[in-house]
């Protein structure tokens, strides 16, 4: 199709916006072909028909760069890393280029008061129109003193920034549902953004780390349709979290057939059979890992021979551990006491107790009657 090749006739409205995305990309040595490949990949990630690729290209060409601020709280920076270290740099570059990232602790050049002043400026001057990205959980205990930036608590900052944003994207499981900082006993009272700031418009993009493709696709959806993608009951976009891993898994035929890996490295493992008995949480987890995969579609845990850890579900880590067992431990019992051991003990105990009762009853005299009594 005869689309303008990096033309610079785009309207240069807005202070940050000087060139179209395609011009910017061309200047960086990204060809039009690569850009169109990216747009096609995005339409696939969003489960849109291929015909949407040119529309995505047009939308990205014409867009006025929305401002984005990236807040980092109780996190390991894994989600930032996932985005920045995408194996194919054009994907990350496109995200960075179509967005005006005014604040992001890991990558910004400014520091200290200057950096905080940038954030304050965005919150003040672009109220209701910027996008906030939150990485990491927010501690609630002791008024949130466990995570402070520039002398202010994460909770305080999140209320201000997320409360004033057009939308907040909670990236990673920690920002979405509390994640690992919220694992029992949750010493800091860590929660996800939606719990910490109930008034904010939040889209959850859980995962440990999040799949950068899903973040890019969410942003592209926003730029293309001017609204946020449809979400499920847990605030996750349906295009990325609408299907269960188990139901899209490449090892699913082995599950249905009844072929299971029993030990790491056994014959079944070498043949690529189902990892269900190795504690795979694919049946419990909604994510597009089997189709979207990680690191530019290179691989994902189950393809690599390891079960799904269920990292993108709420209450990860508590409900998904032990990682190599199907069920969580029974609360109140020892670490190694599984539900089945306790249950079998209960059944045997019941049978033994009634056995004893039966023997005693059999030798008991004078406790019988002849028929039930009319009432």
């Amino acid at each position: 199709m005869a689309r303008k090749q990096g033309s610079d006739t785009e309207a240069a409205d807005g202070l940050e916006f000087q060139d179209s995305v395609s011009t910017l990309l061309e200047r960086r040595g990204v060809t039009r072909r690569e850009f169109m490949k990216f747009c096609t990949a995005m339409s696939a990630a969003l489960a849109l028909p291929p015909a949407f690729a040119p529309r995505i290209a047009r939308a990205l060409d014409e867009v006025k760069r929305p401002t984005l601020v990236w807040l980092e709280f109780q996190s390991c920076t894994g989600d930032t890393e996932a985005l920045l270290r995408a194996s194919n740099p054009t994907v990350a570059e496109i995200v960075l280029d179509i967005l005006s990232i005014d604040y992001a602790e890991t990558i910004m050049a400014a520091a200290g008061h200057l950096a905080e002043a940038n954030l304050d400026k965005v919150v003040k001057e672009e109220k209701g129109s910027y996008i906030a990205v939150v990485e990491g959980s927010i501690p609630m205990k002791e008024d949130g003193i466990y995570c402070c930036i520039a002398g202010r608590t994460a909770l305080d900052r999140a209320r201000e920034v997320c409360g004033g944003a057009f939308a907040t994207l909670a990236v990673g499981t920690c920002a979405s549902y509390g994640g690992i900082p919220a694992a029992a006993p949750n010493p800091t009272g860590a929660v996800g953004v939606k719990v910490a700031v109930p008034s904010a418009t939040v889209v959850n993009l859980p995962g440990c780390p999040l799949n950068a493709d899903n973040l890019t696709a969410t942003v592209v959806h926003f730029l293309l349709f001017k609204k946020l993608p449809a979400t499920d009951g847990l605030g996750r976009p349906l295009f990325a979290y609408g299907k269960r891993i188990h139901d899209n898994c490449e090892r699913r035929p082995h599950f249905d057939a009844g072929q299971y890996v029993e030990a790491w490295g056994d014959q079944a493992h070498r043949h690529g059979h189902c990892l269900y008995k190795m504690g795979c949480k694919g049946p419990e987890t909604f994510h597009n890992c089997p189709t979207q995969r990680y690191n530019d579609k290179t691989s994902w845990p189950v393809a690599a021979g390891h079960g799904c850890a269920g990292c993108s579900q709420p209450m990860f880590w508590d409900s998904m551990t032990p990682l190599y067992k199907r069920l969580p431990n029974v609360p109140g019992f020892g670490i190694e006491a599984t539900a089945d051991k306790i249950g079998l003990g209960l059944a045997v105990g019941t049978a033994a107790a009634f056995g004893v009762h039966g023997v005693l009853s059999a030798f008991r005299r004078g406790d019988d009657s002849e028929g039930a009594k009319e009432d």
Binding site: D256, A257, G258, M315, S319, P328, L346, G371
Partner: protein
Amino acid sequence: MGHLYEKYVWEIPVRATHWVNVLSIAVLTLTGIYIGSPATLGATPSDFVMGWVRFVHFTAAYLFAVSVASRIYWAFRGNRYASWREFFPILTPAGRRNMLATFRYYTFLCKKGPQPVGHNALAGTTYALVFVLYLVMIVTGFTLYAEHAPQGTMHKLTGWLLVLFSNQTLRLTHHCVMWLLIGFAIHHVYSAWLMDVKERGGVMSSMFSGYKAVRTKD
């Protein structure tokens, strides 16, 4: 002493749901144990062992749910021995006295317990608890089952449970309640045997025929 006669106690819906429950619980337990901890029974990827086991589990689950719902309906329509009042003796002073007397009989503290025509007070109370466990099983089971069709009707109806408890917590509950029901089944068969021997009212066969041997008041 009054004379013995055959009294029609258990109506057909009571007996039918009882035996459907027995059958479906047995099938659900066996298939459920396989689903929870399967053995490699498939020889080739074209086999469908787990597929069939799950199919049987879900079919039995529907059967069980219909049976439990029917029995609850019959608790409001059936005779006095099928009535919901039989399951809550704790609500009346006489019922509470009967519960204590039955407890004393079971624990060898007295020689004669009440020998009611219907359920004894402790049995009735136990069945009320067991029906709560049934409902827990049905709700957790169908909530987990609904995850195969995200955004479907069943998933939308049960989604709040997944948000509230997480699917793994529901799965653990589903698993633990199975063991409680296995414990109940052992207790239930034993108690029925004991009552059959001691009461001599033919309670075991009454679950097939509906009739018990009852002595008239005099």
